[in-house]
Every structure is written in C-alpha cells, then in structure tokens.
C-alpha cells in the first residue's frame, strides 16, 4: 500500500468534492467523438481536458499535453477509458483547484490510474455509486498529494485503502496466487510423503 507522502497538504472538504461530482453534467459521460460518427454527436475528449486547464488557469505541462494527443490518435485506448478521463476533467474543475499547480501533477497521475480503473468500473458508477464517488474524490486528492480537510494522514490513508478498487483487486489477485501456490505445495508434500513411504517399504 502507498505510504502517505511527507509534506502532504490539506485539500478541500471531501463533502464539497463529493457534491461537485454528484452534479456532473451528462456531457462528460458522452461517447468520445473519435468513436462515434459526426451525426450521432459526442464529445471531443481532448478539447474537454484542455478546457479544464484553461478554466483553472493552470498551464498544462508539455509532456502531459503530448501524452494526451498521442493517446487521442492511438486506437489503443478504450471508450471506457476516455469517459473516465472526461470525468476527471469535470472533477478537477472544482473551484478549489483554481490556479493550483498540483492540478497538473494530480491529473497526470489520474490518467494512468483511471486507465486501469475503468477496465473494472464504468465511469458512470463514479457518479451513481456513493462508495465509488468517494473513492474517486479521495483518489483525486491523493494524486495531488492532498488529503481531505479535517482528516489526519492516517485517517485519509485508511479510508482510501478501504475504498480503493485497484488495491482490493491486487490483494485478491495476490491471495488467489497464494491459494494456488499453497495448493501446489500441499500436493508436492503429499508426493514427497508418498515417495518417502515408498522408500520406507522398499527395504533392500
């Protein structure tokens, strides 16, 4: 599990962020334009993200800009992933992030995390499901090196750990690997026992 960073600062009230996310307009969950035909409409995800940085008066780092542009041109990324990124653009449009430099860092880290997370969770669930909503708000703060106002680093870490879908999946995968390894060892022990028994009987 991730250890809280030294110098981690306090962010906005969690409730504010939760409320903001719950009011996400439908446009942010629309199909990215690159997969839909012009007649069906949709949203230009890249424009949405660039608009966020303009709105918050934060300069988008060159590396991040290039990454987004390359991703947009690449057919590798799923529609689910882009929807997740669109949602991030909305979440970080909260007024607290206005002119906050941590926004760039947090957004960049969020892209990678959401890429994996949207394989498991649909973007819409982060609005509709209260637990997923809290997970995304806490993650957004964590990516920025922030914690919710009024929480100690330990409280923030504990609560995030309890909600973190990828962390839970990782634990489940590990414990499943452990289970199959334990099964294999059990089988090998039985084989070894049988071998010893065979040796014991084979008194020559």
């Amino acid at each position: 599990m991730r250890v809280p960073q030294n110098g981690e600062q306090t962010g906005p009230q969690l409730e504010d962020l939760l409320h903001h996310l719950s009011e996400c307009p439908g446009v942010f969950l629309e199909t990215p334009l690159f997969v839909s035909s012009a007649s069906e409409g949709g949203v230009h995800s890249l424009a949405l993200i660039f608009d966020l940085f303009l709105l918050q008066n934060v300069k988008i780092p060159i590396g991040l800009k290039r990454k987004l542009e390359t991703s947009w041109e690449s057919p590798q990324l799923s529609e689910r992933c882009w929807r997740g990124w669109q949602l991030l653009a909305y979440l970080f449009s909260h007024s607290w992030f206005y002119e906050k430099k941590v926004l760039a860092k947090g957004f960049a880290r969020g892209l990678d995390h959401m890429h994996k997370l949207t394989d498991i969770v649909e973007a819409s669930a982060f609005i509709a499901n209260p637990a997923r909503r809290e997970e995304l708000c806490r993650l957004a703060l964590f990516w920025c090196g922030l914690r919710p106002q009024g929480e100690s680093p330990e409280q923030a870490e504990d609560r995030l750990k309890a909600l973190d879908t990828l962390f839970r999946k990782d634990i489940e995968a590990k414990s499943s690997r452990n289970r199959s390894r334990a099964e294999e060892i059990r089988r090998k022990i039985q084989e070894a026992r049988a071998r010893e028994a065979a040796n014991t009987y084979a008194r020559e």
Binding site: E184, A197, N199
Partner: protein, 449 residues
Amino acid sequence: MQGNKTIRPVLDDSERFPGLEDLRWVYYLRQHPKAPLYNFKSGDRLDSDGVERLHGYKRTLRKLGGTSSLSFIRAFYKEARSDVPAYRNYPADFNDAPSMNRDDLRKAPWDYVKDSASLENILCYATSGTTGAPLEVIFDATCASSWLPQVELMLEKEGLGLEKGAGTTAVALICYQLETLTYASASSYLEGSGFIKVNLHPKQWRAPSDASDYLLGLDPGLLTGDPLAFSALMELEIPLRPRAMISSAMTLSEGLAVKLEEYFHCPVYDVYSMTECRNIAFKRRGIMEKMRPDLYLEILAPGEERVLEEGAWGELAVSGGNNPYLPLIRYRTGDFCRLRNQRGRQFLEDFQGRLPVRFPLPHGGWINTIDFSRALAPLALASFQIAQQRDFSLVVRYGGRGKLSREIGKAIGGVLEQYGAEDLPFIFGEPLPEISGKKICSFVTEFER
C-alpha cells in the same frame, strides 16, 4: 520389497547420487562381508549445482561470521517479509515481529515456503514426536546436507575437519534401538566419502563381532549419535579412534561426555538441534555456544510477546536459517536458557533441553523410548506422554481427537513384547490438554536417568 498398492518406484543409485560418478565405494560399504543387515538405501541427492550451493553456503557462513548478527537479521527479515506469505503482513521493523511456534507450522506449513523457492524435488521429514506432537518439515537436498559445512566450521576451531574422498568414511551415525532404517551412503559434498548409519542392536548384525570389525575397518572420522547409542558403543568395547564425536537429539550429561572423550580419545560435541532448523548450538567442555552465524537467537518471556534482556532466563527463540521452505522468524523452540554475548560470540547458559530417557525393566535391561515414538508415529497423535512409575509400570496419556486407545495399546504392547517385557503393566491416564504450542515431555521416568 513388501507389497503395497500405493508404492511408487524407488530411486536408483544414479538418482540417489547424481553428483557422484564412481559409486564403487558405496557398494563396498554396502557389500562388506561384515556389514550390518542394511535395511534401506539412501543418497544425498545432490547434483553438482547442489554441491556448489553448499560450498557457497559455507562461504556465506564464513562471511557472516565476521558481521554483526543484527545486520544479518534485518536483511533476513526484510527478505522474509517480501518472499514468505506468512510474514507478508508482519510489521516493517524486526523488533516488532510476533513470535511463532510449532502449532503455526503444523497448521499451514505451506505459508512458510518462500515464493521464490522451487517446488521440484522437495523432501519432507516428519519429526519423531519425542518432544511433542510430530511435525512435518519441508526442505531440499541442499538443505539436507547443509549440516556438513556447519559441522566443518565448528570442527575447524579445533583444527579438525571431515574426511573427504572415496575410500574414507566421513561419518558413522550410530544408533542403538530395536529397529531403525540403516544404510550405507556417500556424500558428494565430501567428494564421495562414506556415510553410514548403523544400529548396534545385535539383531542387526550377522555375527556378534561384526559390528566391531566393520566399524574398526572403516575407521570413521566422525561419530554421530545420541547419548544412549554412544553408551552402548562404549559398553560393546569397540575401540574406535574417531577424530570427533557429535552427540545430539538428547542432552549429553557432562559425566558421559568426559567418559566418551577418555574412551575414544577425541573431542565430544553435544549439539543442540531441531528438525525445524537443524544445528543451533554446540556444547564443548561445558560451554554451549551458538553454532551458526545465520541464526539469530533471542530469549522471550514465556507466554508473552516480549524479548528479554541479555542474561535473563526464558524461552529460546530462533530466527534465520538457510531453509527456503521454512525461514524462521522468532520461532519458539520450547527450550529454555540464558544468552550471553561476548566478543561477537553468543553463549547459551543454564540450558534446559531434552534429557535422554530410557525405561529400566524389572529384570534388567532397558527400553529405548525412541522405539515407542517409532511405534506410535503412524497414529499421528497430537501429543502423547508415557510416564514410568516407581513400580516400572507405565501411564500413557495422549491428546487430540478420536478414540485411539486400542491402537495405542497395540503399539505399546508390540514394543514391550519385542523387549521381552510383555508383562509390564500399562494404563491410560487423563487425556493431555489441547495443543498449547509448548513441548510436552513425551517420556518421563521416576527412576534416575
């Protein structure tokens, strides 16, 4: 070979000795006209890589000998936390690590196997249960032979070493009991030198003088065995001249150690070891010292998660070892002592280990209690105790589920019969308490030991 439907093909000699090309010396040891009636075949299973790993292990021991035990255990602990499922959630600092005991191992031995450990060719060894409920320990061929470099380093301190090469017999493991597996083998690590396990019991030899002739002819460099077997060896008056003797499995009294040294004209080491990690310490001239730098010893408060200060008497806990199938972290041994550190060496004082127990018989002679352990082993009792009363009778107690009195009675009756003591009465006492993690003395007698 006895008929058994579950039997699998046994190993052949090339599998027993993958590291030895020429096995003529092994055949000689087996087929010697005065050889005992060997009832088993065994090999070290070491290939050339395994031999190299053992040499590497010896180099590691030497290197660790010159470093602080604290830095060793910190590195060991860090690796164990990342590689062993059972330790994965342990606190980051070794000082905060909880202790473990044999019950933990019995419940889930697989949790203590390193993720990085290969599961090919693992070996399994079940303890006899002489000092508690039987326990199954997993290891591999390299671990099985790692006692050799450990012993070499111990002997080096007195300018001694182990024999090497075909034509020599490095080790003779001496037993004296009704029945045990016996074999003639060789060590690839010792370049083909012989390793024999013999049982001095007269039933195991063709003629009464054979034991003496065979052993004197082979002139083994190191004798290993328990105090009862060494007593028997002296009683048989076989004037061997080994370079050293190692007594283990039970505590060797200082009186007997002196007698053995006088009789065999060689240093006698009393080695304290456990199946879980093999050699821990050795006693020489009344001084007991930690044997290996890859073990970290501590004294814990009995029944409490508290490490005691140097010099305090409490339960010995062992961390470390070289078994990838069982790296130990604060493993409670069930044995008690004090620890003293002196110039980078660690000494065990007031050690209370297992004293040898034999049951005297009313008409002379005695029973080696290991024969009871062996007879009861197939019943896999959680724990048992046989206590001999002043009138020679035996009180048998056992723990665990199931009504096994009949089977236990049959096993004990069988041993008594073999010793010609079928009339010796035995009764069942109160059941033993549920598993507590502590060793229960399996054999006690009201007669002097």
